[in-house]
Symmetry: C3
Subunit: 315 residues, 3 copies
């Protein structure tokens, strides 16, 4: 029971990965997020749950998009937000990761949002902060991106009401995707009976079946009768790499077109973590079409991040 994400009494202390979270915690987060969806539609989109708290956006790897979602969520909870782009600062003065965090902690931090190119960095930080301080992993290497996984789960629950009986396909570069990893763990914890991964052999992790998924290399076969299709972003660097012949070739086999989507259920939803490469992993007709819930994902993402922050650090 030595779970670094939970307090001794089983409450959420840090959010480091979806893997290892009890089902009740996941449900608590999704339920809390639901209550925040109302807040963000109000004229005054603010609640005082984190008033006077200091939230540090600690980005060791730049990501304006993810940083923005956390900054908005924290400000709507009335927190004080400090953005730190660490690549440009004391790391270059030879200060270690833990010294940097110890210093910020001495400034009476309450919450660290950590993005780092190295898998495990948020865990390392969580092991060294004080009991009243909290860490949220905003993406660490290829390891995890739990708030993205949670907003994906929220979106699926919102549109499908129930996880029982669903078939979910995750398509594309499974190998390098922390988004896929976080989502697959969450789907498993919440009892989705069939999770499929679809992609070329070169972009599949070794022993991917151990995650409890069915592997498809043929996209048409994999999409058959799916309720949910999650497209992954193809990183630009992969397109020029040795793992793929070309972006065009990838699009031909694994890009989501209206024609391929027709093989899924007629009420299937299409998701994407963004930013999209239109014409590579997804066609514009699908991205902007009636099955797409890509923009609602972003909206839910704010509510999910507000939920996680208020659960672990709320007054």
């Amino acid at each position: 029971m030595n779970n670094p994400q939970l307090t001794a009494s089983g409450a959420l202390q840090h959010l480091l990965s979806v893997e290892g979270l009890p089902r009740e915690i996941l449900v608590q987060i999704l339920d809390t997020a639901e209550s925040f969806c109302g807040v963000t539609e109000r004229e005054v989109k603010k609640v005082p749950l984190l008033r006077g708290k200091s939230v540090f956006n600690l980005f060791f790897e730049p990501s304006t998009r993810t940083r923005t979602t956390f900054e908005i969520a924290a400000k709507r909870l009335s927190a004080d937000v400090i953005n730190l782009n660490i690549a440009a600062s004391s790391q270059t003065k030879g200060e270690s990761l833990l010294d940097t965090v110890a210093n910020l902690s001495a400034m009476q931090a309450d919450l660290f949002i950590v993005r780092h190119a190295q898998a495990g960095a948020p865990h390392l930080i969580a092991r060294h902060v004080k009991p009243h301080e909290h860490v949220i992993n905003a993406g660490d290497g290829r390891h995890a991106h739990p708030t993205q996984g949670l907003l994906d789960l929220y979106t699926i629950r919102h549109y499908k009401k129930d996880f029982n009986g669903l078939t979910v396909a995750v398509v594309g570069d499974i190998l390098h995707s922390r988004v896929a990893r976080s989502l697959i763990h969450g789907l498993s914890i919440l009892g989705v009976p069939e999770v499929r991964v679809i992609g070329p052999q070169t972009l599949m992790p070794a022993r991917v079946e151990a995650l409890g998924v069915r592997v498809f290399h043929d996209m048409r076969a994999g999409l058959k009768d799916c309720d949910v299709v999650v497209m992954l972003r193809l990183q630009n660097e992969r397109m020029r790499g040795t793992l793929l012949p070309s972006a065009q070739e990838f699009n031909k086999h694994y890009g989501l077109t209206a024609e391929k989507l027709a093989l899924a259920k007629s009420n299937a939803i299409v998701m994407h973590p963004g930013p999209m490469n239109r014409g590579v992993e997804i066609d514009s007709s699908v991205a902007d079409g009636p099955h797409s819930v890509i923009l609602p994902q972003v909206t839910f993402g704010i509510a999910v991040r507000m939920a996680v922050m208020s659960i672990i650090a709320g007054n």
Copy 2:
């Protein structure tokens, strides 16, 4: 009546350019700004008109100075402000302008402040946002910089009380200046009888007379009996360009000196949008002299931006 800046009932929905705004809207902005001038002189310089609103400073072209004025104005209205320097972010991930905006809009934005090197970008964004979202153009290419134009109008009204009977000269690089364009439209709408543009032929737009201005290539003739002299910034890149022999040459013919200013009315005011090139388009004796209202322009600029934001997005 299909004006993209106005709602169906004729209220201000977006601020994209001074051109095309009805006279009453201009007057409403100037009157509202006047009421905010009091706020910014108080001990507590804050009003709650935008509390809980999310304002995105969307700068596709860097401008610390303009970004700062909008950030201060929004914070004094109690808004939550998110600064996004887009050059350094998802644009580089190949995300399109409209996808970027759609994503931010899905985060429940209320107001986008947009600066872009391409003329028309704020209009494009305004056409795609939701009905409750608003766009303010903070400078697009050579096209428009309407809040600068409005603060210039505010400054003229403040010192001259009335636009009737005024002679206003705009001096320098008219060709590349969005500031000049926005101001000239505003002066025309508000009924200034004589607007002059002064500069070398190479820095005049083709058919500039169509704007309703009188063209002067001789600065002394152009300044004669003016009430208001607006100096434009000479961009550094022009000084080394093919359009001008040199900065020294420009200064000799079109730089504002105390001696040339003496040709204007004795109570003439001198304006400049900043930052100034002292010794190029304006001499320090004039910039810091008794006719200069260059720093009051900056002060009024905050009040004008507060006015525009509160009119289009206030609770």
Copy 3:
């Protein structure tokens, strides 16, 4: 009595250097900081003393660490904080330091936090701002870093209760250190009877004895019976420079080890302004050991900055 830091009635107007401050002002700052230490341990770490005030973090030299401490302190006082990294902005448009400040001042600034590579820049700014505006020096060249000096004094008083009878050693690169300069002045004003500086001849200022200190080139002799040991950061550029043979050589002679520290009093405290070069000027066993008060210094630093800001600009 023409002290640029004080008003006509002797109150603190600007904080430019510890040098030249009356003893009563130093004590007032330390006492006020003590009252803020309680605030920062509360659940809601905010007081409304600077509500509606505009604080400009004016960093002409990047320093995420120092900027962050001021940003947190200002936000905990409920001020609006605007961060300006000036290297990347109008300075490059050829605007002068004073024009930049005059512009920000016209935006109704209340407080400028200034970091600049040139000694004297904050003084220059202080001479040109309006009577209700205030300047805090956040480090200017090799000259001064008064809030660091003040937090060092606060830390010493916190642990030693009284300045009378203390022996304080400052160790390392005295020549290039604004931290050392600010601290030594403060210790002298507050009546510390013996201040020692320890370091190689090449890193000692000429005529350092004029500051009222005893000079040691032998670290063991210098540490003998000290109450307080202040280690200075060795700048990376010095390690490769001509002033020092190497970092290893420096560590051997002037690095603080547990063995050398044993020569000081048994209840001596060890301080460092951070970020530390572990294994160069200080060993990890000392940095993380029982004598180290390096992290409490950071905590006190927030309270000291809140104290200075609220004394000079509070409602």
